[in-house]
């Protein structure tokens, strides 16, 4: 199973994107500035948009899922219960798992954005996919919610998971890092060596790398462990 971006390119009046590379099974992180094309790349990887040039091949990939950065775009049911049932899930179980204390009959779009994100991710992460593309999965989540989401994503050891994010503190287990620089998808490499090449690394990671205390992973435990080494 693998996803191959074969010299894809996309040009718009105000920006452009070029990407090439192979995404093997594991958890990949993609970072980039606002407006650099991360969401467009996610759409192309999912097959929901086509590049101007090049090709995307999804070898051995059957089930594909894309989580949009705006959870409100995913809502298909009027109430929270309707939304859960649209995923074939029991509302009470979803609410308990998501940690949301609201009536199942409440309008889904009346939830706070963080609650909506929790609801959406709980439903989405209840299934297995060969290719899972998560566009800004941590935005709007509170800190415990980010840790929960990072844990859930980390447990996905099957298939290809690609996380597009601006998050600066809380990350899942990560196997590979990519970033969009000047409109070009750049392969920073496999972890932990990728941290040396990661220009969009959060400030704390940059500091740890500069001090030579490179974490094995991006999980909170690994970062704190590396920070403790730095303090010794």
């Amino acid at each position: 199973m693998r996803l191959v971006l074969d010299s894809i390119a996309l040009a718009r009046p105000h920006w452009s994107l070029a990407a090439g590379g192979t995404f093997e099974p594991g958890i990949h992180l993609v970072s980039g500035d606002v407006g650099s094309g991360k969401s467009t790349l996610a759409l192309i990887m999912a097959g929901l948009a086509a590049p101007d040039r090049g090709a995307v091949s999804r070898d051995g990939i059957g089930q594909v899922m894309l989580s949009f950065q705006f959870p409100e775009f995913h809502i298909t049911g009027f109430s929270v219960a309707d939304e859960c049932r649209s995923w074939n899930l029991e509302p009470e179980a979803v609410l308990a798992s998501a940690g949301i204390v609201v009536s199942p009959e409440r309008s889904a779009l009346s939830l706070s954005r963080g609650e909506l994100k929790r609801l959406h991710l709980t439903c989405l992460l209840s299934r297995e996919y060969d290719l899972l593309l998560l566009d800004e999965p941590f935005s709007s989540l509170d800190c415990p919610g980010k840790e929960w989401a990072a844990g859930e994503i980390s447990r996905r050891r099957r298939g290809i998971t690609v996380v597009f994010t601006h998050e600066q503190s809380i990350f899942p287990h990560t196997d590979h890092i990519w970033e969009i620089r000047e409109g070009i998808l750049t392969d920073c490499g496999a972890m932990p060596g990728a941290l040396r090449a990661w220009e969009h690394a959060p400030a704390i990671i940059q500091r740890l790398v500069a001090e030579g205390c490179i974490p094995d992973d991006l999980t909170k435990e690994s970062v704190v462990e590396a920070a403790c080494r730095m303090q010794e």
Partner: protein, 223 residues
Amino acid sequence: MMTFEGVRFRDLSVPSLALPPGITTLIGPNGAGKSTFLKLCAGIKEPEEGLVSIDGSSPRQTEVGYVNEFPDRNLLFSTVKDELASPLRFRHASCAETEREVRACAEWWGMGGLLDRDARDLSGGEKCLVALATAGITRPRVLVLDEYDSHLDAGRCAVAECILRSSGAPYIIRCTQQMEAAAESDRLLFLEKGRIVHAGEPAAVFAELAGTPFYPLSWRCRR
């Protein structure tokens, strides 16, 4: 001083609170009432009981710039230029002043290249930037910003912080889930289940939150 006296709205209760000028940041779990608190500050909602006051006036009698946590709910007009111009046009500013202010604002925010773009085609982060710039373009006395940074990269967050600090707005009330950003505020309010559980300077509030996911990661790593 921004004050809350005996305020109740649905599940939110703020018996008494006085916020001096500066940057106040709300933090807390999803569903704690942060957005409701901000809507009361902006005058979008009025308390069911009690009074919110900003230097003696109600929020609805005060110039307020507001950013909704749902980026698409901020955008009313087709192009970025029209969106930025809207607060100026609503107050009948001249065409020349509107044009000048829109250009200057776009330059400050580093989005001169976005002016003629269709707002619906922007990325999530770009929509947030447009909403922020629009909220501040008339230099309101109060800026109320709900999760304005949830789709911004670290560089844009730093730019936003710099612009907000130099905006001249006496009161900036915001909420964020980026604890490193919250730590830069003048004061924090930690909300949980509709109540303000902790209030004070960041060091004091985060001391109460040590060991929780809300404690800034970089503070754990401080030498």
